[in-house]
Subunit: 355 residues, 2 copies
Amino acid sequence: MENTITDSIKITPITTSKLDKVDFDNLSFGKTFTDHMFECDFKDGVWQTPQIKPYGPLTIDPSARVFHYGQAVFEGMKAFKDDKGDVFLFRPKDNFNRINISANRLAIPSFPEQYFMEGLKQLLKIDEKWIKSGAGNSLYIRPFVIATQACVSAAEANEYKFMIICSPAQAYYVGDVSVLIAEKYSRSANGGVGYAKAAGNYAAQFYPTNLAKKEGYQQVIWTDADTHEYMEEAGTMNIFFRINDTLLTAPISDRILDGITRKSLLEIAEKEGIATEVRPIKVNEIVKAAEDGGLKEMFGAGTAAVISPIKAFGYKGNHYEIKRPEKAFASHLKKALMDIQYNLTEDPYGWRVKL
Amino acid sequence: MENTITDSIKITPITTSKLDKVDFDNLSFGKTFTDHMFECDFKDGVWQTPQIKPYGPLTIDPSARVFHYGQAVFEGMKAFKDDKGDVFLFRPKDNFNRINISANRLAIPSFPEQYFMEGLKQLLKIDEKWIKSGAGNSLYIRPFVIATQACVSAAEANEYKFMIICSPAQAYYVGDVSVLIAEKYSRSANGGVGYAKAAGNYAAQFYPTNLAKKEGYQQVIWTDADTHEYMEEAGTMNIFFRINDTLLTAPISDRILDGITRKSLLEIAEKEGIATEVRPIKVNEIVKAAEDGGLKEMFGAGTAAVISPIKAFGYKGNHYEIKRPEKAFASHLKKALMDIQYNLTEDPYGWRVKL
Ligand SMILES: Cc1ncc(COP(=O)(O)O)c(C=O)c1O
Ligand SMILES: Cc1ncc(COP(=O)(O)O)c(C=O)c1O
C-alpha cells in the first residue's frame, strides 16, 4: 500500500508560474494562491485518483449540495521554511485527524491518511518556492471537502471533492485587539457542530461580529448558548486568560474546537512550569479579575495568528482594559512555539515534520 | 423603477430543450432541472444586471468563501398548474421576505424584491412547459445565494451570486414516517441561525439522522438544545400535534424556521373552527398523550411534502405508535391547502398569485 498511492497521484504541472507577479511584502491574507492545487473526487463510494494540477476554477453544478446544505469542512495549517531552505509542517497528523472528525459529524466520508499526507507533501514540493523563510512568513495551507453531488433534496451527498489549496502568508493579525463578550448571539449548541471545522459555523458569526465592530470591537468571544455565563472561544481562535500567574483556558467540548495551537501552548506552558488550569471559566470571574487587577493577560490562540493579544473587552455595556504586563506569557509562548515551527530550536515534543 | 428592471433582465434562451428527455412519471426529487436558470451577481456593492440563461455549471474559484465559511442561504417554493393551464405561486412574497431575513443573519446583502419577483416570473414563463398539471405535480423552485468571493480569510464576502433553479416534482414523501425525538444532538442554539434557511443548518442534521435511521426512524424531531424537553421542528418541516381535538404547534423563535406551510395551516384551521394552540410543547406531554390515547395525530408541515403524517415516534428507548384517526386533520388540512394552491377552490386568504 505505502507506495502505490504516492505513485498514483496524477501531476499536471503549470506551464508558467505566477510567482514573479506576487508582491510578498504586501500580501493580503488568503487572496493569493500558489501555482498548483490538490484535488481528489469521491464517487461510486470511493476516493478516486488524486491529482495535483494548476490552480484554477472549478466547474460545479448550481445544484451541488454544498451550496444548499452546507456540507463542507476544512482545515487550516502552515508550512514554514528555515534559513537553510528546509520546509517544516507543524503537527500535520492532527489536522488530518481533525478534518475527518469534522467530516464524520457532517456525514462526509473520511479521507485516507496517505492521500492527505502524500498529497500535502507533493503539493508543497511542487510549490516550494512559494514558501518564504523569515519570521512570520509561512505558507497557509487549506485542505477542505465539499459536497458536489447535483441534487437539491436535503440529504447527504454521494459525491465530494477534497482539495488542498495554498496561500502565502505574512502575520495574520496586526496589533492587539478588543473583543466583545457575547450576551445574546451564540456560535454553537450542545449536541451541535461547534467542535467541527464546519463551514456553516463561520458564516453564523459574521453578523454578530459586525454588530460588535460597530461598538468598536474587532472580535466576539463566544459564551455558552444556554446561559452566556461561560467563556468559550473566539471565531477562529481558542481563548486564554492569565489571572495573576496562572494560565486559564476552557476545556474542549462538543461546542469548542480542539485547537492545535491551544493544546501546544498548554504543553509548552506546563513544561516551562507555568501553572495552567483547564476548566470552565465564568465571565464574571474574568470581569472581577479585570476589576481587581488580577487579570494580567487575555489572548486568542490559533494557526493563523499563533497568539493574538487582547487589550480590552466589552461586557454588559462596560469596557475593561488589560494592561500588558512586562513579561507577558503571550509573547513568551508565541516565541517558544514559533521557534519550534521555524526550526530555530529543539523540538522535544516531536511536533515538527520535515518535508 | 417598476419597469426598468423587468426590461433589464438579460435573457439567453436555450437552443434545444431537454423537456422531451424527462420521464415525468418517475422523477426523483431535486435531480432534474429545467432548461433555464436565473442568475444575478453582487459586485462592487450592487446587484448587477440579472440574467436568465441555459441551466448549466458554474465556474467558481476553489477559494470561494461559500466553500469555506458556509455563507449560503436558500428558499424552497412551488409553482402549480391548474387544468386550464394557468400557473400559480403560493405566497411568494413570504419566500422573498424570508430569504432576506436569512441573508441578513448571515451578513449577505439583501436581494431587491423586484429582481426576485420579476426573475421568478420570467423564469417560470420561459420554462412553463416544465410545470405539469394534476394533483401532486409541481415545479419546485430553489432561490439561493452563495458567497463567491475568492478569499480564505474568515470574514463575510463582498461578492455573491443569487440564483433561481427549478426542478419538476411529484409528491415528496411517500407514506407515513416514523421519527425519533432528539435527546443528545441538536439543530440550533439560542442566539444562533436556526430561524434562517442557512445551508449549514442542514449539513449538521445528516449524521444524527443517519443514527436515527439505523434505529428504524426516517427523521429526527429536534428538541431545544438546552434541556431537550421541548419539541421544536423536523429537519425541513415544522411539526404539529393533535391532542384530542386541539391542534398544537411550537411558537417560532430564533431556533425555529417560520414555515409558510405552518402558518397557512394554522390560519386554515382557525378559519374552520379547529382549536389551535401555539405554545411550547413538552416532549413529556406528547409521551403522556401517546400513552393515554389523547395523541390522535402528529405531522410535519413544509413546502416539499405539504403535510407528512407521522405514524410513530421513538423516545428514550420507547416506541410509540399513533393510530391514524378516521377524520384526520392531516388529510383534511392538506386537501384544503392544496385546493388553494392548485386553484381548485376560492382563496379567501389572498395567498395564490397567478403568473
Ligand atoms: C473555531 C476555531 N477555534 C479555534 C481555532 C484554532 O485552532 P488551531 O490552533 O488548530 O488553528 C480555529 C482555527 O483553526 C477555529 O476555527
Ligand atoms: C428547517 C425547516 N423548517 C420548516 C420548513 C417548512 O417551511 P415551509 O413551510 O416554508 O416550506 C423548512 C422548509 O422550508 C425548513 O427547512
